[in-house]
């Protein structure tokens, strides 16, 4: 294959050799370093052979010496192609321009992919990359990947690991988020205060308390208000007279669950205007080069009320070689507004759906529902949904301990 390409680039001829001393001609050619291939006999004293163009230019004396004749049958290769199309300048110029444009495009980032994010949205990270000189259309050599990884970790505390690399014209940012809710805060707590109490996070009635360290100040069944100390980290060491001799501090640790009452309230309007699709739709197609968009003309009147869906694709030569060329369509979907009045049953269904969503959100946060008491009433133009939800959940929260001076210590010194 490589030999064929080499022969095509050099250019070669298929010749018809005639004469009685054809064998001698071949020998002389090879003695002078000329390459000959595909020598096929065509009849008495006639054979066909292939020879490079540069060798053919020096072959005339050999023909004279051996009294043979050469006739050109075919010309093949790049030199002949270039000669044939020597007046057609635009085609090779366009070919070169396209190659140049591709080379130019290959030096920029035309596609950004974010992997591993679950809470941070793609848009947030892409906007951040644009602010940090690594957005769509940035020159690849201007992007400092290591600096980008560091700044991502620094500016988004929830990112615990970041990696970025460029493949072709694609910038890939892989991140790992810290999915533990209080992972970061507990670490900072430990750093700030060496000793912590457990306090009530919200108003509750204590259900159960299992203390591992610290002094429990409440027992099961006690009502507590938000901020009350549940387990103290301070232990008093008394002397024989019953006075405090010194304090012993050890961070409080306990499993405390409490009964919490959540108020629930919602207003569902009795009459709403609903947007409904009419089924009519108009579409325009577009092509976008380097941020300049060309759309097919709108040959229809705009709808009074509509929404728009854009669906586009990016042109790419390989999986990694994306180009700043987009093509796609924009659909305008007509809508109409309809007034609708809910009956009590419908309002109840909507209220039940919303309540279930609220309850499942609570359960996702580790709250177990014990009971619910929700009523629905029509008040004027609204359906009023109100009631309470009783739940059992961990109520302990860490808070730094107040360090107390031992009473009467100063006097003793005096």
């Amino acid at each position: 294959m490589i030999l064929r390409i080499y022969r095509f680039l050099c250019g070669y001829l298929t010749l018809l050799l005639s004469g009685r001393k054809a064998g001698r001609f071949l020998n002389l050619c090879t003695r002078r370093g000329m390459n000959i291939w595909n020598v096929v006999l065509e009849g008495e004293d006639r054979c066909r052979l292939n020879m490079y163009l540069k060798d053919f230019r020096n072959v005339r004396p050999l023909c004279r010496k051996t009294k043979t004749r050469l006739r050109i049958q075919k010309r093949r290769g790049l030199p002949f192609v270039l000669y044939r199309y020597r007046k057609r300048v635009i085609f090779p110029a366009a070919f070169l321009a396209a190659a140049g444009l591709l080379f130019f495009c290959s030096r920029f980032v035309w596609k950004i992919e974010i992997d591993g994010n679950s809470r941070l949205s793609d848009d947030t990270i892409i906007r951040y990359l644009e602010e940090n000189n690594a957005g769509f259309g940035t020159a690849k050599k201007e992007i400092d990947l290591e600096k980008l990884e560091l700044s991502l970790r620094r500016d988004f505390p929830q990112i615990i690991w970041a990696s970025s690399y460029i493949e072709g014209t694609r910038l890939v940012v892989e991140i790992q988020e810290n999915l533990k809710e209080d992972g970061g805060s507990s670490a900072s707590d430990g750093a700030d205060a060496s000793c912590t109490d457990l306090i009530a996070a919200k108003d509750a009635v204590i259900d159960s308390i299992i203390t591992r360290s610290g002094v429990p100040l409440v027992k099961a069944g006690d009502p507590v208000a938000a901020g009350d100390v549940l387990v103290s980290s301070r232990q008093e060491i008394l002397d024989d007279a019953g006075n405090v001799r010194e304090y012993f501090y050890q961070s409080a640790d306990a499993d405390i669950t409490g009964r919490v009452t959540y108020p629930y309230e919602e207003k569902i309007p009795a009459a709403v205007s609903e947007k409904k699709e009419t089924g009519r739709e108009h579409t325009v197609y577009f092509v976008e080069f380097f941020g300049r968009r060309m759309e097919t003309p709108k040959i229809f009147n705009d709808f009074d009320l509509f929404y728009c869906i854009e669906d586009y694709r990016q042109l790419h030569l390989t999986d990694h070689f994306y180009l700043p060329v987009f093509f796609g369509k924009r659909s305008f979907i007509e809508q109409e507004e309809q007034e609708k009045t809910y009956s009590k049953e419908e309002a109840e269904q909507i209220a039940a759906a919303h309540l279930n969503q609220f309850l499942s959100d609570l359960e996702e946060n580790g709250v177990s529902i014990i009971g619910k008491n929700v009523m629905i009433d029509k008040i004027g133009d609204f359906y009023q949904v109100s009631g309470t939800i009783e739940a059992s959940e961990p109520v302990g929260a860490k808070a730094p301990t107040e360090i107390l001076q031992i009473p009467g210590q100063d006097e003793e010194h005096e």
């Binding site: 064998g23 020598v39 054979c47």
Partner: protein, 92 residues
Amino acid sequence: MKNRRHVNREKIVNALELPKDLMLGTPCLTMNGNRELLIENHRGILTYSDRQMVVLAKDIRIEISGTGLYVEYYTADLMKIQGQMDGIAFRP
């Protein structure tokens, strides 16, 4: 006299374990079945037809007989012959 000199030279090449095709200029033939024949160290073609081909080498002539014989490529020291080969004979 010439033959004796050749024998001496061959003895030296054997004793020193040198490559014979380089030192003695003997032809080196490589065959793929009976359809392809590669000849190295040739000295040119003597006769050329599609039934018989005589290739010169140092001290010997190689006669190839067969049908549909043709030279696929032919350079100063390498030659590849293709076709249906029936026999190869070496003549002084």
